[in-house]
């Protein structure tokens, strides 16, 4: 029996036969589930690249001038395994770029966005499946450009991930490597924009009947707001990269300060403006999906509805809007009118208010819940903690008078690693552990998952905590050999210990790699349609793995995303949860207050 709304939805999204050829099925696929997996593989691979680069940086800060064991033999043969200053520049530059644009972004946005949006809103595919495919292949091209940059004569980009001129101009960083990486940023921006157009349109147009905005799972809210930010602000980065490419290759002078008295010159600071107009929203581009995932996983494993769902949605929308108005706080030390600086400081501090609403709602969701400590839940709780630390240290940096002292120290590095790196990374792990059964049909091993969790959580806290301490003690960031300064020499022990913890953190990730392949190719039992006993459509309205067309019948949604521990549902079904599209026996949904 279908309602008229379902009939209309079916007519708008007819079932297409699945492709049969190998290439159409697995490689040039337009199926959002396959594209999501492609993004996952590409992202995880580059996570390994970025992590390896991080280990090289940590080695340098622990044992400067000493040959790197194993990796040095493979990659730094010419210098006998020692990291030289120019190589070091390239390592920390590409570590940042790879992690942000080519590892965390594809996993959080590319994989989860693609895989989850149609399944969670009850659609057969994305609004523009072909555009989706182009988005992935454009992204892959940008990854290849980054890899190619390592093979050029002078090596890869070395101007820092922010790519500030004049260091990033031909004068500061000559060579093809930097040009290729700037081009890669442009290309990945094009890919992000294509994805964003797709995500925004899909959520607006293809929600199943009954799936109002206030019934969307919070994951979708997070990804949707992220997509809006991506659509509006990634193009700004695109034009910055474009102008930088023109400066590097065609002799224009947008960012090159000229010496001519009559003609004037370009403005290096202009790049900082363009970069941070994009760059600050980018911070929220990476954290909003993480918030969204937490907003669903916490109630799922606390067996309670999310506390004040609408408040969280509203707070996330406000954060999205405010994120576009605070970029100046990255430039307090660049030289800025004090009045303008105070304005940016005010807005920056203001962001913590809606952020606190989000965090408090998480805490109140947990309050008196019956928590299940499966590995996704552990990762979700860890995300809360590290995001809390990251957010609180952000207050120090938002305050101008404090920022004067902490600017460009390791404190900044610790802060943005806690927020962008740790919180986004652990949230991505939350998502991977949670949706792995839906993506690949099996549950990751629980014992290995917990071992991975403790390595990750303790490791990340100690590593980035060590950075915060070093920065507070005055250690500048990005130094090739920090200990050539006498006032940093006393921090040698702290740096060395931080490095040891980083090595342990890195080693712990191989537990995940082992778990991943063991589950994928081992003899684990199929997970079944709904192993976590949760409510959203991808678990309750379709099988595992979902068929090519996702839903045999497009579901009609009758309640919000977190219907848990409702006594009436328990009386009617014997379960403590009800699926979003589940029709309860005996017309029971009329008895259950179907909260919007």
């Amino acid at each position: 029996m279908s309602t008229s709304a379902q009939v209309l939805a079916e007519a708008a999204q007819p079932i297409h036969p699945p492709p049969t050829s190998f290439w159409r099925q697995y490689v040039f696929s337009i199926d959002h589930k396959v594209i999501g997996k492609q993004f996952l593989w590409a992202g995880l691979l580059f996570l390994l690249v970025g992590g390896t680069l991080a280990m090289l940086i940590r080695w340098q800060w622990a044992f400067p001038y000493r040959p790197v064991p194993v990796l040095g033999q493979i990659f730094l043969g010419k210098s006998g395994g020692v990291i030289g200053p120019a190589t070091y520049q390239q390592i920390f530059t590409t570590h940042g770029l790879v992690m942000i644009f080519f590892a965390v972004t594809p996993v959080l946005i590319g994989c989860f966005g693609n895989f989850l949006i149609p399944l969670m809103i009850g659609a057969r595919d994305m609004a523009f499946p072909k555009l989706n495919m182009y988005s992935f292949w454009t992204f892959l091209l940008s990854q290849l450009l980054v890899l190619a940059s390592f093979l050029t004569d002078l090596g890869s980009a070395g101007a820092g991930w922010t790519t500030y001129p004049p260091l990033s101009t031909n004068v500061g960083t000559p060579g093809l490597g930097q040009t290729l990486v700037v081009a890669a940023i442009f290309v990945t921006g094009v890919s992000s924009t294509m994805g964003a157009i797709n995500y925004v349109t899909t959520v607006i147009r293809l929600r199943a009947p009954g799936m109002g905005y206030m019934r969307l799972p919070l994951t979708i809210w997070g990804i949707w707001l992220t997509a809006i930010l991506n659509a509006l602000f990634v193009p700004v980065l695109g034009s910055a990269a474009l102008l930088l490419l023109l400066d590097r290759n065609f002799g224009t002078q947008f960012f090159v300060a000229g010496a001519s008295a009559v003609r004037g010159g370009g403005d290096p600071i202009l790049f900082q403006h363009l970069f941070w107009i994009f760059g600050h929203p980018e911070v929220y581009i990476l954290i909003l999906p993480a918030w969204g995932i937490l907003g669903d996983v916490l109630p799922f494993f606390a067996r309670k509805p999310h506390h004040w769902y609408k408040g969280t949605v509203l707070a996330m929308v406000i954060v999205t809007v405010l994120s576009a108005m605070v970029y100046g706080h990255h430039m307090f030390m660049t030289g800025m009118s004090p009045l303008l600086g105070e304005g940016f400081m005010l807005f920056t501090l203001l962001i913590s208010a809606p952020s606190m609403v989000v965090v408090l709602n998480w805490v109140l969701t947990l309050w008196r819940g019956s928590l299940r400590f499966d590995s996704p839940m552990l990762f979700a709780l860890a995300t809360m903690f590290v995001f809390g630390v990251g957010g609180l240290t952000g207050l120090f940096l938002a305050d101008i008078s404090m920022d004067l002292y902490l600017h460009d120290t390791m404190f900044v590095v610790g802060h943005f690693h806690f927020t962008m790196a740790a919180a986004s990374f652990i949230a991505a792990m939350t998502g991977i552990y949670f949706w792995f059964p839906k993506i690949f049909g099996r549950r990751l091993d629980e014992r290995l998952g917990k071992a991975h969790f403790w390595f990750t959580f303790i490791g990340i806290t100690l590593v980035f905590g060590g950075q915060l301490l070093a920065g507070y003690a005055g250690q500048q960031r990005r130094l090739f050999d920090p200990f050539q300064y006498t006032f940093i020499q006393q921090l040698r022990g702290l740096n060395r210990w931080t490095s040891f913890f980083a090595f342990a953190l890195f080693a712990g990730q191989f537990i995940f790699v082992w778990n991943f392949f063991k589950t994928l190719f081992g003899r684990a039992a199929p997970a079944g349609a709904n192993p976590w006993e949760v409510t959203t459509l991808e678990w309750t309205a379709t099988g595992t793995p979902p068929p090519f067309h996702n839903f045999d019948r497009i579901p009609e949604v009758v309640r919000g995303p977190h219907e848990f521990s409702n006594p009436e549902v328990r009386r009617l079904t014997g379960r403590d949860f009800a699926g979003q599209a589940e029709v309860l026996p005996g017309g029971g949904e009329r008895l259950v207050a179907a909260k919007g």
């Binding site: 349109t201 193009p235 700004v236 065609f250 002799g251 002078q253 001519s260 003609r263 004037g264 403005d267």
Partner: protein
């Protein structure tokens, strides 16, 4: 025009009951089309941000410059680019009429109009090349400081969009002759073309006039 519709209706099947409603019926959008429009609007908003960032860069560079244009560099012409403004506006007008012709099912006329629009786009590019050549001969090269940078970067980036748009319009003109051009394709490329025209208007005022 209504007469033509009635005759065609009579030839192919029973005439529709309410003839004045027919035009409206043909203009009504399907669900898929609405989805495509929304996607296009988001794309254009996104691209508008890109151009906005370029104009922002221009504004910053210009505010910092001691003189604009610098005394040792040629002033930009404004008559030929002004003519170009008229050309691209006319081209947009042709697209509007072409879309209307498509809605009325007059595919020969549609093909002609889209062809005219693409041709005007080519004229625009030709005139733009003339401007570049003239200015280059007068001694303005891309490496000649911020003034030259802004002029060449903005006009070239815009011209690239014109090139893409006119290629699409040319293909659509051929397809509409064969009746394989969908209404969505014609309308969406039309929207893109209007966008390119509007950006040109802003660019003309900001770069050539002010």
């Amino acid at each position: 025009m209504l007469g033509a519709n009635i005759r065609r209706g009579a030839a192919t099947g029973p005439p529709p009951p309410d003839v004045p409603e027919l035009g409206r019926y043909r203009l009504r959008r399907t669900e898929d089309e609405v989805t495509s429009y929304i996607g296009m609007v988001i794309f254009l908003a996104s691209w508008a941000m890109m151009f906005a960032a370029l104009f922002f860069a221009y504004a910053v560079v210009r505010v910092r410059a001691p003189m604009w244009p610098p005394p040792d560099q040629p002033a930009l012409p404004f008559l030929v680019p002004g003519l170009n403004t008229v050309v691209i506006a006319a081209s947009s007008g042709a697209v509007v009429l072409g879309v209307r012709a498509h809605a009325r099912g007059r595919h020969g006329r549609e093909s002609l109009l889209l062809g005219v629009a693409a041709g005007l786009g080519a004229v625009f590019l030709g005139l733009q090349v003339l401007v570049w050549v003239g200015v280059w001969r007068a001694g303005l090269v891309p490496s000649g400081g911020p003034y030259a940078s802004v002029f060449y970067a903005l006009t070239a980036f815009h011209a690239l969009h014109v090139l893409v748009g006119l290629a699409a319009l040319a293909v659509l003109a051929m397809r509409s002759r064969a009746r394989t051009a969908t209404r969505t394709a014609v309308r969406l490329w039309g929207m893109f073309w209007h966008f390119v025209g509007v950006v040109w208007g802003a660019l003309y005022v900001a770069v050539y006039l002010v």
